[in-house]
Structure formats: structure tokens, C-alpha cells
């Protein structure tokens, strides 16, 4: 099956990275499963998911070792880190605007005042009076 990388230390690093990666993936899934409301789940999925897969990608980079593979693996990690937060932002905004009910114990909701007074939807930078592009 997996051919070893030749020196045992690298094997151990690869396995360690892969295992921690997998562990964080589990964290992400469980987070999505058990957290009470959408926004909490969203941040769990984004952060833990990206970290978990990132670690696996690093493990792959370490495992192959040549330049081509490492750049590609790191590019993968970069893409993940780039896209995950944006996806979270976008879906969070949409859900919040459509009035998803927050967790009953939420202490402070700083966004609430922007939504209730101005408009059903938040116009970007509306707090800074600038006409929408």
C-alpha cells in the first residue's frame, strides 16, 4: 500500500500530520453537528475544516518531498485558506439577513442594530455613508 519514504523519521512526521489533520476534520464535523445555531456551526466548519485538510496537504508535501509536489500542496493549502473564510462570510451574511434565529444564550448581537434600523439587508459599508457602487 503506502510505500515508506525511506527514512523512518519522515514516516513518523507524515503519519503525525495526517492523524492531526484527520483529528481536526473530526472536530469540524462534530462542531457542525453539536453546535446550537448556524453561525456557531459555520465558524467551526471553516476553521477546523481548513486546518484539518491543510495539515493533510502538508503531510502529502512532506511525503513526496520533490519541489513540484510541495508547491502544489502549498498552493492547495493557500486556496483553502483563501476560500474558506469568504464562503463562511457569504453564507453567514445571507442567513443572518434572512433572520435565522440565534442561540438563546447569545449575549450580544452587534449587528442587530444595523439590520433593524436601516434596511432589511445590510449594504456594505453602510455605516460609513458612501453611495453603493
Amino acid at each position: 500500500m503506502t510505500t515508506s519514504t525511506g527514512h523512518p523519521i519522515l514516516d513518523i512526521i507524515v503519519v503525525a500530520l495526517a492523524l492531526t489533520g484527520a483529528f481536526f476534520m473530526i472536530v469540524a464535523s462534530v462542531g457542525v453537528l453539536r453546535l446550537p445555531d448556524l453561525l456557531l456551526r459555520m465558524h467551526a466548519a471553516t476553521k477546523a475544516g481548513a486546518l484539518g485538510t491543510g495539515l493533510v496537504l502538508v503531510a502529502v508535501a512532506v511525503y513526496f518531498g520533490e519541489v513540484g509536489m510541495t508547491t502544489r500542496a502549498l498552493a492547495g493549502v493557500a486556496f483553502l485558506i483563501l476560500t474558506a473564510p469568504v464562503a463562511a462570510h457569504v453564507i453567514g451574511r445571507a442567513s443572518y439577513a434572512s433572520g435565522v434565529k440565534l442561540w438563546k444564550e447569545t449575549r450580544r448581537d452587534e449587528l442587530a442594530e444595523y439590520y433593524s434600523t436601516h434596511s432589511p439587508t445590510l449594504v456594505p459599508g453602510s455605516e460609513v455613508r458612501q453611495d453603493p457602487s
Binding site: T2, L19, G52, A73
Partner: protein
């Protein structure tokens, strides 16, 4: 198919695969249970990311660097689905709010 198990490296990989599969299944559960659309979209987005990990693992296990290209492509593209849904969600709400200003409950 991947061959039989011999070194302990393989056992480790199997454990990793098991964990990732477990993660995928739990995310799947959220997709079905998710009360609001947002939950489902978040779960699918997570699934996308896990799929990238899955493919990376494959390239690790089989030693084929080719799978990594597929993983990168997916990493780049997977989030687009979420953006598209978010857009639909927003426009749908804007329209629903325009139609009946009451506190519209999302599907």
C-alpha cells in the same frame, strides 16, 4: 483498488481514512437534519473541504501525484456552490421581504 495491508504505515493510513470517513458521515447527517438552508449549505461546504482532504490522502496512499491536481482544482472550485446558494438565499429574502415585510421564515 489498493493492495493488502503490510507495514504499520498502512495501519496509520487506515486509521486516518477511518477518521475522515467518520467526519464525512457526520457532516452528511447535518445536511439532512439541518433545519435551515444555511445549515445544509455549510455542511456541504465542509464536505467539499473534506473531499479535498480525502483526495490528498489518496495521492498519499497510492503515491500518485496526479490526485493532488484534482484536489487543488476542487479546493479552488468547491466554495463556488456556497457562494451561489448564498446569492440565491439573499435575493430570495430580498424578494420575500419586498412581498410581505413580516419576519419571513427561511425555508
Amino acid at each position: 483498488m489498493i493492495g493488502e495491508i503490510n507495514s504499520n504505515l498502512d495501519i496509520a493510513m487506515l486509521v486516518v481514512f477511518a477518521l475522515v470517513s467518520l467526519a464525512i458521515l457526520t457532516a452528511l447527517y447535518r445536511v439532512f437534519k439541518g433545519p435551515t438552508l444555511g445549515d445544509r449549505v455549510v455542511a456541504v461546504d465542509l464536505l467539499g473541504v473534506l473531499a479535498v482532504g480525502f483526495m490528498a490522502l489518496y495521492s498519499l496512499v497510492t503515491g500518485e501525484s496526479v490526485y493532488l491536481d484534482a484536489a487543488i482544482a476542487l479546493a479552488l472550485i468547491a466554495f463556488l456552490g456556497t457562494v451561489a446558494f448564498a446569492r440565491y438565499y439573499e435575493i430570495d429574502n430580498r424578494r420575500r421581504k419586498a412581498r410581505n415585510p413580516g419576519p419571513g421564515a427561511s425555508p
